[in-house]
């Protein structure tokens, strides 16, 4: 069993209670799994957890002393991500429009779609046509698209500012976000 250095007595007590509940749950589900034993066979170089905090402090010193302010790089990255998500919304909305106007097939024909947001955030330019192609000519499911959203937005989801940027952009282009989301739910699942 793992022992986390630095847990308070209260933390330890709660962990013990949860552990008991999990073991009982597992007994009802499986006859071969008996709960974790140690670190499941994984091992470490000697004194790893003694040196890790030192290595992290060294990384932080490097971060502080490197070039432009960390905050501005961070801010830029957030803007690019916001732009990528926004363009994705535009692409999906455009797709809905095209489908509804009869120029393309039904929603269900496009249930398998592909979006790679990281690809877009890695690019120095963002191309509407390319985005449209990515949405409609690939093989990820709608669930995976939404999953991509989670992964890319998750670090920022406590940040209202990020959400505001997206909503503002959506409003500017007349996209009703609730309509978009409900359309996704209805037609992709």
């Amino acid at each position: 069993m793992l022992i986390f250095r630095g847990l308070t007595d209260k933390d330890e007590k709660m962990r013990k209670e949860t552990r008991e509940n999990i073991r009982k749950e597992l007994e009802g589900l499986s006859s071969s799994l008996r709960g974790p034993d140690g670190n499941s066979g994984f091992s470490l170089p000697d004194n790893y957890f003694e040196s890790l905090p030192v290595n992290i402090q060294t990384r932080l010193k490097d971060e502080r002393s490197s070039g432009p302010s960390v905050f501005s790089v961070f801010y830029y990255s957030r803007m690019v991500r916001a732009a990528a998500v926004f363009l994705l919304l535009i692409g999906i909305a455009f797709g809905f429009y095209m489908i509804r106007s009869g120029e393309y097939g039904t929603y269900s024909e496009y249930a398998g779609t592909y979006v790679d947001l990281e690809y877009f955030t890695d690019q120095s330019y963002l191309d509407h046509t390319l985005l449209y192609d990515m949405v409609f000519e690939s093989d990820l499911t709608a669930d995976e698209i939404l999953y991509e959203f989670e992964i890319d937005a998750v670090l920022w989801d406590y940040d209202d500012e990020y959400l505001e940027i997206l909503l503002e952009d959506s409003r500017y282009y007349g996209i009703e976000s609730s309509y978009l989301i409900s359309s996704l739910d209805l037609n992709f699942n």
Partner: protein, 181 residues
């Protein structure tokens, strides 16, 4: 001496004279938890080591804006999970691998890992876990190894506790089947 709780650590970091000291305490409190969570996802120690350092750099950068909407430990888990999954995604993309190929490669890494000391049964369980879809693997690991409550898992993964419970139960059944085969 009483160990400081998360609220006290955050107060020391945000308002104290020595935020570096407070951050060091946070690292020491959570490093093992983060490391093992990451290691089980990426398997190779060297990869886990890089990711863990990235996680704590991100924690350090984001901590001044942490608003306590969630517990500190679920927030750190969330960053660690995202970093690990992003790493696997990058690996998949850079090596032109499918999801199945990534699982197979992780299995091979497990076989070749000089730091792995598990028994045959432990190795079989690890391989069974690697055969799960990525997100289900995270769910299983959080519950089985990290002994996390469904409510906390819901905070980490942004999914409902009910859905996570169903996912965990399916994962256990799949692993059971794999072990029996």
């Amino acid at each position: 001496m009483t160990k400081p709780g998360d609220d006290e650590l955050l107060r020391m970091f945000n308002e104290g004279d020595n935020p570096d000291y407070a951050f060091n305490l946070i690292v020491r409190k959570y490093q093992e938890m983060v490391y093992w969570h990451v290691r089980r996802l990426v398997i190779v120690h060297e990869d886990a080591d890089d990711i863990v350092q990235d996680v704590f750099v991100k924690v350090w950068k984001s901590l001044p804006k942490f608003r306590k909407d969630s517990a500190l430990y679920t927030w750190i888990y969330r960053i660690a999970t995202n970093e690990s999954l992003s790493f696997l995604k990058r690996k998949k993309r850079h090596m032109f691998l499918s999801i199945g190929d990534v699982s197979r490669q992780l299995e091979e890494s497990l076989e070749a890992d000089v730091h792995y000391r598990g028994s045959e049964m432990e190795k079989k369980i690890q391989k069974a876990i690697l055969s799960l879809p990525e997100k289900q693997r995270v769910v299983f690991n959080l519950r089985y190894f990290d002994e996390m409550k469904y409510e906390d898992m819901a905070e980490v993964l942004g999914t409902s506790a009910g859905a996570l419970k169903a996912s965990y139960h399916h994962a256990v059944k799949k692993i059971e089947k794999y072990i029996a085969s």
